[in-house]
Symmetry: C2
Subunit: 354 residues, 2 copies
DNA sequence: TTGAAAGCGCTAACAG
DNA sequence: CTGTTAGCGCTTTCAA
């Protein structure tokens, strides 16, 4: 059985059925077989049938290298993610993978670990692999975007998602962080909070800036006064960081009654510490996170948060990229698009509702 | 500037610097340039320098399609994951991506969503892309493994990780689920639990079987008696499923005082429901999960769980695959390896310690 | 309706 | 030390 399979499937040990082999067995030329397989109109129905049947029987698969070499197209898209183990990015990956599959593409996944150097290196890797396009969410430590610009200038379609750089000339998929943060903060204000702290990262990706601006705008649009000392800038975006800053915060301002955290994991850290400090949530302090990580469902109380449509973002990013790749192939000029997805404030038990 | 770049970098609009172009500019032959770039000993130092310098200047990148076609090697590895949005699998991906990068490989990521049909389809996709090897964790619904066997028989290196099928002739990386479950259950017994339930999935991947067997063995090795009615088989492995089964469980057996759940997310569901039912954790009922998802840190009380080394598993799986790919390339026969990684019981606050 | 041939960019054996 | 050549498998134009 084993031996038969080998011979049957391949005829040689590397298992490659080629057009030539099919052509030989059928007494046809390579070109004819190729065209038959692609259903060219100038091939007789009869030959087409013969070729198709044999190809099927022999499990013929075109050699993708040869195809790519010839067509100058890989049908591979590169995806750079800052950090896979974030619920949000995991959802993005899922969306991209699904959309890619539906369109006959496959993705090469790379992770920057939020380091600029990695991001640069990985772009190179993707170029080396001749991907047809690249999806990228900037790392938190990326401040210079020449590496991206270079790729774009080389004519390779690039779409930015989530963590973008506004001035880069390419399509982008984002969430309106500013508005989402505004809504989240307003929710705290409506719940009666008078002294609302904001916890943010120390770096300046657009998301950090926008969420801060949304927070500030909401405060200023209300009866409250914006107080810089209520904005806590922390070194990292981990649970630990949130846990630690919480205590400091309460020391500085005993009467804080609301917290809008840059991300859920920080919110969870704050929640944990405040509970340990015997502070009642939400009656004494209300907390809002950001991203709708799964963990917000299992804390006590459950965390109010902003849902970011990760899966949808992944799909949309791929679709924009696809458009651009098509345009490039057909040498049509293409205008960049910026798609803004809407977020959803998910009100749970860590905030007061009036 | 823009125009200069274009000409400087490419000389044509598709941005491809080829050996031929370099050879022409230098008045050398293509072959010589190729060899100079690969530091062949039979090329003069002088020409090597000239070639290297110009290649650098012109940003020469070998065309990977041509290389792959020639060498019959893609330097791409396929990775099939049942579900990306699981902390454990996300860690695995991270490990694989890192190990791959260190060895000049890149990974194509596909997700089976735990459906057999997808898994099959995706294997085909990977074969079409001529990946050099495949890493796969079987979907929960996979009971027939002929699709995998076919790939192996074609001579393509395959390594199974986590959810494996024992009889498949390939290298594997696993965790000793049986032992881990045994330890987890024993921990409950040592803590004084007398009536310990086990919650498991309704399908039969090896992990489900092994964790169940570990649970059973621990019970039987103790003074307790194994009681089939304490084993709850649920339809899915979500938080909701855990949440729902919890109540049923307590109705059936009011005196349950310990729960060993197949996975953390179920444990979290159980915990949530039991708390709602005013059951004290861990004093009345102790709970142990499995996988050490991040969420186990943010529940109240924090969940005791079994840490699976996902990142390490990813790395190891890639290393095994690498060995096999090398052996194949050098036509050396290669014996399959089975690597078992050790787990760690992480004792937190959802179980009693005596 | 089919075949022949050129060529995508690269490697490696062989010749000079 | 360098050049020539064949060929990886496929697509597509042109000729028959």
């Amino acid at each position: 059985m084993y031996v038969i399979l080998i011979f049957d499937l391949c005829g040689n040990y590397t298992n490659s059925m080629t057009l030539k082999k099919i052509a030989d067995k059928l007494g046809l030329s390579i070109g004819t077989v190729s065209k038959a397989l692609k259903d060219y109109p100038d091939i007789s129905e009869n030959t087409k049938k013969r070729v198709l049947t044999l190809a099927e029987e022999l499990h013929y698969r075109p050699n993708s290298f040869a195809q790519s070499l010839r067509n100058n197209e890989s049908k591979v898209v590169g995806l750079i993610i800052p950090e896979i183990t974030h619920d949000f990015f995991a959802k993005v990956i899922h969306g991209v993978v699904d959309a890619a599959k539906e369109n006959g593409y496959v993705i090469i996944l790379l992770q920057s670990d939020d380091f600029y150097e990695n991001e640069k290196e990985q772009l190179d890797l993707l170029l080396d692999k001749n991907v047809d396009g690249i999806l990228i969410s900037l790392s938190n430590t990326t401040t210079n975007v020449n590496h991206i610009k270079e790729v774009i200038d080389r004519g390779i379609p690039v779409v930015l998602y989530d963590k973008i750089f506004k001035l880069l000339d390419c399509s982008k998929v984002i969430v309106n962080d500013r508005k989402a943060a505004y809504n989240a903060t307003s929710h705290l204000i409506r719940g009666g909070c008078k002294k609302i702290a904001h916890i943010r990262g120390n770096l300046d990706p657009q998301t950090t800036i926008d969420r801060f601006l949304g927070y500030k705008a909401a405060i200023e649009d209300s009866d409250l006064e914006y107080d810089e000392s209520l904005v806590y800038t922390i070194d990292g975006l981990s649970f630990e960081n949130g846990y630690q800053v919480a205590e400091q915060m309460m020391k500085d301002h005993k009467d804080i009654d609301g917290v809008f955290a840059f991300t859920d994991i920080i919110a969870a850290g704050v929640l944990m510490r405040l509970k340990e400090l015997q502070i009642a949530i939400p009656s004494q302090v209300s907390i809002v996170g950001f991203s709708n990580w799964f963990l917000t469902n299992v804390t006590t109380p459950k965390l109010t948060t902003v849902d970011q449509p990760g899966y949808e973002m992944g799909r949309k990013a791929f679709e924009l990229l696809l458009k651009e790749m098509k345009a490039k192939k057909e040498m049509i000029s293409h205008t960049k698009e910026i798609v803004e997805l809407s977020t959803n404030l998910i009100i749970r038990d860590s905030t007061k509702v009036v």
